[in-house]
Symmetry: C3
Subunit: 305 residues, 3 copies
C-alpha cells in the first residue's frame, strides 16, 4: 500500500487498513534503523518547527537520513523571517520550492491543516495545538501492536492529564479503529473533555472513568498510558500539589499488574513514573521511542514513493 | 564556463557573459531541483549567517544538497564562539579548514569582502550590510530572463523602499549589464540614493522617478519589482502611516497592466502586495523563489567544479 | 587498531599506544579531509551540545560528513525539551535509539561520564566542566607529533590561565604518556592546581613554574601553548588589568625563540597572541584546527568500525 502524496494531519485521516499497512512497513524497515537504505535518495524533507521539540525533530530527521534523504529546516520561530513580518503561508509557499515533504510543528490548532491546503507537497503534522499529534498516536499504536501482537480486545488505561494532552487525545482516536476497553484515571480538573466522551459514546464504546488508580483497575489493564500533569494547568498551585502525587505510577502499583502489562509514556516525563519502573519488563517507553523512529520511516517512505 | 574558485561578493563582480552562462547552467540543472545529482559529492559548504535569514539559508542548503554536497554552519551570532570574544576573522580561518566554500550573511557592509580576503576558499555573499545581495540579484535577473526570454529592451519599474533595500540596489547594478529602461517609484524619503543615480547617469542610462504609481507608468512596465517599506526607516511614525498605503500594489493597479507584466518581490513581504495578486498570472514571486534555487545550484556547481 | 564501541571521556582513557594508532589513522585520512570516503555510511552521530561551541561542533560535524556519515543533534539547552523538565538521562536514552555515537558537550563535570554509563552506544566527550576535553588534547598532541615527528624529549611551555583551562589540563595529562619537560608560566592566581602538580610529581616528572615569560624560558621551549585569561576569573577587575598584558605573547618574545618553536592555542583567543605572529612560521594554531579535524575523523572511524 502506498500513501503517495498524502497529508497526515490528524490520526482520523488514517484508516485501520492503512494503520496495519504502516505497521507492516515499519517492521520491514527495522533492519535499516541502524544502517541506511537509499530509498529516499533525492528527496528533501523540510522540518518547520514553530515551537521547539527536540525529540520529535530528531526522530523525523533520523528517519529521513536512514532512508537516504536530506533534511532542511528550522526549530523555533525566533530564527525565521517571521521576525520580519512574513506570514506563515508565505513561508511555506517558499519552502515548497525546496522540499518534497513538509513536517510541521506549530502551537496553533489548525496550522498543519492550513499549511497542507496552501502547498502542493505532502504535509505531516508533528504536533499542533492541543489536539493533534498523529505520528505520536501511530507510534503508540504500533508499540502496542508490535509488543502484544494485536490491539483488538485489550484494556487500555490512561493516567494523568487527559484534558490537555494531545498525545492522549490522538491515541484515543486511533484506538477507536480497534475494539478496545478504555479506562480513564485523572483528577477531576483534567478529565477527558466532554467532546471526546461524546465521540466514544457515539461509537458505542464503553469506558470507565475514575479519579484514583485502584488495585482492580491495574489488575485489568493490558496497557497503562501515563502522561505528565503540568503545574501550569492549575490556577491554584495548592490544587496542583494536592493531586500530583496521586497520579504517579509506582512500584507498589505494579504489584497488582498482570505479567504482560506494558507501561507507555509519550515523554518527556517529570516525576509521574517512579524511575524504578525503568528497570522492570513493564517499561516500554524507551522502546516506544525506537518504534516511533520505525513508524516515521514507514510514513516517509509510503508518502514519498 | 567555469567560475572555479571565484568569490561572489558583489553583483558587479559578474560580467554579462558570466550571467548568461549562469542562467544557462541554472536552466540545465532544473531536472535536479526535485531530485539529486552527485556533482558536488565530497564538497562541504559552510553557511555562516551572522544575522538570521531562513529563506536564503534554506535556498543555499537545498541547492548544495540537491547537488550531492554537505552543509555545515550556523545562523545567528548568539550560538557562535563570538560570545567568547573570538574575532570574525579567526572564525572564518577556522572554518576554511572544514569547508570548500563559505556562504556568508552579515549585518555589516564589507564583511563578505573582508572574509574573502582572509581565506583561501571561495566566498559567496548571501547579503551583507545595506548594499550587496548578489545572489538575490542573479535570482531576479534569471527570473526575468527565463520568463521573458530576454532582458534587453524591457522597462523595469521599482516600487517602494529604493534607498535601503539591498535587493533593489544589487538588481539595478545587475541590470546595468543590459539595455533596460528604469522607472523608480518611492516616497521622497526613500528615493534612490544619489550615488546610484550618479551611477546610472555615468552609464548613460535614462530613468524616470516618481512619487506615485500612475496608470501610465504601470502601462509601460514589463516588470514591477515591489519591496517592503519598513516602519523603522521613519523618524516620525505619522510620516510612515501617511505613505505606506501609496506604495501597495493592488488589483486596481493591474487593470492597466500589460498582459505579460510580471510582478516580482524579493520576499518577505508585509502588506505591500495585495494578496489577491497571488492568484493572477502576473505574480511571479514564488516562481522567483524556485529560480533562486536553480541560480544557487548553478553558482555552487560553477565555483566548485 | 580499533577502538570499536569505546567511550572517550577523559584523555586518561587513552593509552600511549592508542594515541599513536590514532595519529597514524589521522594521517592516513588526510586525503579525505577535502573530499569524502564512505567508510561511515549508515552511521549517525548525535551532537548533544548543552553549551554552545561552534568550533568544536563544526569540527565533529565535518569529520562525520567527510566519512560519509550523517549528523543529528542540537546546540544550546534552550531548544531542547529540557525546557519541559525532561532529565538529561531521559534525553540521552531517547537519543540512543536514533544514533550510533553520541558526542556531548556539557557545562557540568561528570556529565559525559554519566551519559556514557546510561547508554549502550559509545560516547565522546567534546568538553565537559572545567577538567576534560580529550579530543582537544588529542588534537594538540597530534599537532606536536605531526609537526615535530615526535613528542618525547620536547620542552612544552604553557602560558596563561593554567587553573581553569580544560584544554591545558587535558593536554598535560596526555603529555604524561611521553617524556616531556614542562614549563608553566601564569599569574599567581591562575597557577596550576595543586592536584595537577601532585599528579606530575607522582609520575616523577619535573617541572618549572614562573610568573613571567623570561628570555631563557622562551629559548628552551619547543612548544609554547598559549591560553586565554578570562576577566571573569578575577574578583578584582584591577587585578585583571594588571596581569593581562604580561601573558600576551609578542613578536618581541619570539626574537629569543628557537627556529623550530611552535606556538599553539586551543582558540578562541582574545588578545593574548600578537596578531603579527599569525604570519610567522611559529604560528601553528590554524594548522592545529585542521589536525583537529583529522583526529576527530580518526576517532570516529576507529570507534564505529
Amino acid at each position: 500500500m502506498s500513501l503517495r502524496g498524502r497529508d497526515i494531519i490528524s490520526i482520523k485521516d488514517v484508516t485501520r487498513e492503512e494503520m496495519l499497512a504502516i505497521f507492516g512497513e515499519a517492521t520491514s524497515l527495522e533492519p535499516y534503523a541502524r544502517s541506511k537504505i537509499d530509498v529516499l535518495k533525492g528527496k528533501v524533507m523540510a522540518l518547520l518547527f514553530f515551537e521547539p521539540s527536540t525529540r520529535t525533530r530528531l526522530s523525523f530527521e533520523t528517519a529521513m537520513k536512514r532512508l537516504g534523504g536530506d533534511v532542511i529546516g528550522f526549530e523555533e520561530p525566533s530564527i525565521t523571517s517571521m521576525a520580519k513580518g512574513e506570514s506563515l503561508m508565505d513561508t511555506v509557499k517558499v519552502v515548497e520550492n525546496y522540499a518534497d515533504v513538509i513536517v510541521v510543528r506549530h502551537p496553533f490548532e489548525g496550522a498543519a491543516k492550513a499549511i497542507a491546503d496552501a502547498v502542493q507537497i505532502p504535509v505531516i503534522n508533528a504536533g499542533s495545538g492541543a489536539l493533534s499529534h498523529p505520528t505520536q498516536a501511530l507510534t503508540d499504536l504500533y508499540t502496542i501492536w508490535r509488543e502484544k501482537g494485536r490491539i483488538d480486545g485489550l484494556t487500555v488505561l490512561f493516567l494523568g492529564d487527559l484534558k490537555y494532552s494531545r498525545a492522549v487525545r490522538s491515541l484515543i482516536q486511533g484506538l477507536l479503529n480497534f475494539k478496545v476497553s478504555f479506562v480513564f484515571v485523572s483528577p477531576e480538573l483534567l478529565r477527558l473533555r466532554e467532546e471526546v466522551r461524546e465521540e466514544l459514546r457515539e461509537q458505542g464504546t464503553s469506558f470507565v472513568e475514575a479519579t484514583s488508580l485502584s488495585q482492580e483497575l491495574i489488575r485489568e489493564a493490558d496497557v497503562i498510558y501515563v502522561t505528565r500533569i503540568q503545574r501550569e494547568r492549575f490556577v491554584d498551585p495548592m490544587e496542583y500539589e494536592k493531586v500530583k502525587g496521586s497520579y504517579k505510577l509506582t512500584m507498589e502499583h505494579l504489584r497488582y499488574a498482570r505479567n504482560d502489562l506494558m507501561v507507555l509514556h509519550p515523554l518527556p516525563r517529570i516525576d509521574e513514573l517512579d524511575r524504578e519502573i525503568d528497570k522492570t519488563p513493564y517499561a516500554k517507553y524507551f522502546k516506544q521511542v525506537f518504534y516511533g523512529l520505525l513508524v516515521r520511516m514507514a510514513l516517509l517512505k509510503m508518502i514519498l514513493t
